[in-house]
């Protein structure tokens, strides 16, 4: 059965909510702006609503259904306890502008999470308000810009490795910087000498991902940081891959000045089909004064304060570059992330990194006889295993392998990223997969890889067993249909 659109089954007069009937057209104080025309919003009764969304949900793949081998995206299990605590009325049913005397617990949560993020990263401060990873990146780059401006130093360039996430250059550009690439060396890491050669008074900083998007730890990270600092720049670290090192390595010890943390990656707040995210940014001592408002601070008396525009001076924070968002950030994600950190504890978080790296290396070594592993000879990977499409039969691509993997019951791995590897396949199993689950996945992956090498043309039409066959993305983009075009009446 195909699931129709709500616009095809709903009626304007149907409602799944019982509310008193109030005659329209009576006296009102709407300033003459009363709405008269139909809006075009169909309603469904509760039974129809629950069924519609239940059926829709079953066309999705999800972590609860199986492994999500998405390199760089860290799709791991979402603990149900965290869903429960986020729904405690004392957190879920609190207004952001309530008098601080009535929200001490909420401020405690923010402050406690901030504290552990600082400890886990070895940094000095943290801006909690950014709404997602890319927002956090922007926040970090703006801190760098604010710090440079504060010393009257108008630098223009941000250096970004070729293998960076697309958000990195987009963020730098959005913050008004010119983006230049840093080359990689043969073993997939930043070319330290090339970087040093490029540094100079026009370079505001570098944006580096560590572990990098090839799944490798940047061995020279500290040297890179030292060089950048020596040249008067700052080091931004993309925290997307923090899951590989949480509890094991502190970016602050490597000289990083700013790093965003995707709470939905390392700290497992649910991905939700594309958000909401949450992107706190940890900051070095040099950048902390420039972090945006609001934030929380615990004073010597143990009280946690909310620091906003009006009391920034009391907390010696008048250099804040401004405000990234209304209110205080993603509280609902903070409660989940804090519960995650406390549940795992110091031992559990280190185990997270260890098991994530173990699982990735297990996959690397279980597939590298069949697939080209471009950096496989240079030692272990971190939490993700990278392969290229060398050895595939003529005419078959990474995309075909990915879509064939769907027929095996799995979500595809990350494809064509990083750009530095041809037909890249980046696989991140995460620590929440069992060995039995990995073995099953490896078997499925080997089967599609063998078909790709053998030139099984049927792969070009995969998937066959998904809710939909391949979708025509070109048509969607050429003649965009972005809203239902039916009538607004019934």
């Amino acid at each position: 059965l195909e699931e129709p659109l709500i616009f095809e089954i709903g009626h304007a007069e149907t409602t799944g909510v019982d509310l008193p009937e109030i005659a329209p057209g009576g006296p009102n104080r709407l300033g003459g702006m009363e709405r008269r025309d139909p809006i075009g919003l169909p309603g469904l009764s509760e039974p129809e609503t629950v069924r519609h969304y239940t059926r829709l949900s079953r066309q999705n793949y999800a972590i609860d259904l199986g492994l999500f081998p998405l390199g760089s995206c860290t799709m791991k299990h979402n603990p149900r306890l965290n869903e429960k605590v986020a729904r405690i009325p004392g957190f879920a049913d609190v207004h952001p502008l309530q008098p601080v005397s009535t929200v001490r617990g909420a401020l405690e949560v923010i402050n406690e999470l901030a504290h552990w993020l600082i400890e886990l990263t070895g940094m000095h401060g943290v801006a909690m308000s950014p709404k997602a990873g890319a927002h956090g990146e922007l926040c970090g780059i703006l801190c760098i810009r604010a710090a440079l401006e504060a010393r009257g130093d108008a630098r223009e360039v941000i250096l970004v490795p070729e293998s960076a996430h697309g958000t990195n250059p987009a963020t730098a550009a959005f913050a008004g910087y010119r983006v230049e690439n840093i080359p990689a060396n043969a073993d997939g890491r930043v070319d330290l000498e090339a970087l040093k050669a490029r540094l100079g008074p026009d370079v505001a900083g570098v944006m580096i991902t560590n572990p990098n998007t090839c799944g490798l730890f940047e061995r020279d990270m500290k040297a890179i940081s030292d060089a950048v600092h020596a040249a008067g720049g700052f080091v931004y670290c993309d925290g997307a891959n923090f899951n590989a090192i949480v509890g094991k390595v502190r970016p602050g010890d490597l000289g990083v000045d700013a790093m965003h943390i995707n709470l939905h990656k390392t700290f497992s707040t649910p991905h939700g089909g594309g958000g909401p995210g949450s992107g706190p940014v940890v900051l070095s001592q040099a950048l902390s004064p420039y972090g945006p408002l609001p934030f929380t601070a615990r004073t010597a008396d143990g009280v946690v304060h909310l620091v906003e525009e009006e009391n920034a001076a009391e907390f010696d924070h008048t250099s804040a570059f401004g405000r990234m968002t209304a209110f205080h950030g993603q509280m609902g994600m903070f409660t989940r992330a804090l519960a995650y950190i406390l549940s795992h504890g110091a031992d559990g978080l280190a185990q997270v990194a260890e098991d994530a790296v173990l699982n990735a290396n297990y996959i690397l070594r279980s597939l590298d006889d069949l697939l080209d592993a471009p950096f496989g000879d240079s030692g272990p990977c971190m939490h993700e295993a990278l392969f290229g499409d060398r050895g595939f039969a003529e005419g078959l691509s990474t995309l075909d392998l990915a879509k064939s993997l769907i027929d095996e019951g799995y979500h595809p791995m990350t494809m064509y990223f990083p750009l530095v590897v041809h037909g890249a396949m980046l696989i991140e199993p995460t620590e929440t997969e069992s060995k039995a689950g990995l073995d099953q996945f490896i078997e499925a992956f080997r089967s599609v890889a063998e078909r790709a090498r053998a030139g099984d043309g049927a792969m070009k039409q995969a998937p066959y067993y998904a809710p939909r066959r391949r979708l025509d993305e070109t048509q969607a983009a050429r003649k965009p249909v972005l809203a239902w075009q039916g009538a607004k009446g019934d």
């Binding site: 629950v50 609190v94 886990l120 922007l138 061995r219 089909g273 279980s366 039409q461």
Partner: protein, 453 residues
């Protein structure tokens, strides 16, 4: 650890396959001096569910939940009743734990939902196209300003004084780095928004004028007049709505000529949550502007067998394709909140939304009349939907704090929103929704009367 499935036997077997003798050997690329020698300072060892839940419960009890007090706060975040089935749907693992729908063959659930969501938002806003959501209203507001700059190729932004001050501050913050010029103002404390003053600030260099509707004082500006003036100067009108329920009672911004309509969708389906996650809504009246929009867009197409299906589309605007040339650096939407909004809106339907709006307005009218009877209290607004401004004749911040000590959450003082502006300090914003009872209104009235006596 309950979340980690590997047994010690598994780990050994896996290390064997990899060909190393210990997990440490896998971290060989991490320089020795960078490895933590012991556990993270001060962080306790792993804890059971009971211990964690007790800790969180203990913290939560230091908050006064809105449901446990007479509650009148708004100012950009509204407390509405969310039907139980909304939370049921968003807890379905297939929605909750799904990834961004980049693989459309196995993500039609999320994609069809987004397509329905986009249509609902577009219709609510009176627009042609809405995107798949942004972080929240304030960041959507900045994205609208940035988009207006791209469309008009102008750099001067006129902000209404009655725009939510956090929104204005986000725009000002971002503009510092993009070199946009921001013309802003303070709200005028009068019953009707100062349209003339606003219109007078629009000039030939203006990329857009940003107007909140209803505005931060609860008044309902005549967007039509502003749109006309803006268009006459070649500027766009960006309308900002923070209370979508209002649009069940008043004309849509698109209908009144707004070019970009953005807002906060939290009021429908999402809940208060101390400010986040919320739901940024973003729509354009003219479909031709779609390619200038930021954020994800879901579009209809067909699959290889000709069946209708949905995909993320026009991604050539986006950072993962365009990198530094993208229309925005945004790469997340607020997917699960969009789902909650869409489910709640589907339950409401047009009839439900209109009733909900009527019920909010009617209770707000009652409350305004009741509170205005208190000696020394004056109702500012000539027009309002479910939120209005009272003048108390004394510093409203103090009054709010005092009432909070008595367990009454009286509203948002203008002093909290506009710190340091003496002219506004006696203003109190009071929001009333269907969750407000008549007893709540009476409790507030008595407490206010006593506080002002």
């Amino acid at each position: 650890m309950r979340y980690l499935p590997l047994t010690q036997a598994d780990r050994s077997a896996m290390l064997d396959r990899i060909g190393v003798s210990s997990i440490d050997d896998l971290f060989v690329d991490v320089p020795e001096e960078a490895r933590l020698s012991g556990p993270i300072g001060g962080l306790p060892l792993h804890a059971g569910e009971m211990a964690v839940e007790r800790h969180m419960q203990r913290l939560s009890r230091r908050n006064l939940a809105a449901g446990d007090a007479p509650f009148f706060l708004g100012a950009g975040a509204y407390r509405h009743h969310v039907p139980a089935s909304v939370d049921h749907v968003i807890q379905r693992g297939e929605f909750l734990t799904a990834y961004t729908p980049y693989q459309p063959e196995i993500a039609q659930g999320t994609l069809q939902m987004l397509f329905e969501f986009q249509t609902q938002v577009a219709r609510l806003y009176g627009c042609a196209v809405a995107n798949a959501s942004m972080y929240d209203g304030s960041t959507a507001c900045w994205e609208a300003v940035a988009m207006a700059g791209r469309v008009t190729r102008r750099k001067r932004v006129v902000l209404s004084g009655a725009l939510h001050p956090h929104y204005a501050e986000v725009v000002r913050t971002m503009a510092k780095f993009t070199d946009d010029e921001i013309a802003d103002a303070l709200p005028s404390l009068q019953g009707t928004p100062d349209n003339e003053g606003l219109i007078a600030r629009i000039d030939d260099e203006t990329s857009c004028v940003v107007v909140q509707y209803p505005d931060i004082l609860g008044r309902i500006p005549d967007l039509g007049a502003i749109a006309e003036a803006a268009h006459a100067k070649g500027a766009l009108l960006v309308a900002v709505n923070t209370e979508p329920v209002a649009l069940g009672a008043i004309k849509s911004p698109g209908e009144l000529g707004a070019d970009i309509v953005v807002g906060e969708g939290q009021a429908i389906g999402v809940g208060l949550q101390f400010g986040g996650p919320y739901l940024g809504l973003f729509a354009v009246r003219d479909a031709r502007h779609a390619r200038q929009m930021p954020g994800r867009l879901c579009g209809e197409t067909v699959d290889a067998e000709g069946k209708r299906g949905f995909v993320l589309t026009l991604s050539t605007r986006e950072q993962h394709i365009r990198r530094e040339k993208a229309t925005s650096n945004i790469c997340t939407n607020s997917g699960l909140c969009a789902l909650a909004f869409s489910v709640h809106m589907t339950l409401l339907g047009e009839e439900g939304l209109r009733r909900l709006a009527a019920c909010n307005h009617s209770l707000a009218c009652e409350a305004a009349d009741r509170l205005a009877q208190i000696p020394g209290v004056e109702l500012l607004n000539d027009s309002f939907f479910n939120e209005f401004t009272l003048r108390l004749g004394t510093d409203a911040r103090q009054v709010v704090r005092r009432l909070a000590d008595d367990g009454v959450l009286a509203g948002v003082s203008l002093g909290r929103l506009f710190p340091g502006v003496d002219a506004l300090e006696d203003g109190l914003l009071v929001a009333v929704t269907e969750t407000t009872t008549r007893e709540d209104i009476e409790t507030l009235a008595s407490a206010l009367q006593e506080a002002l006596a």
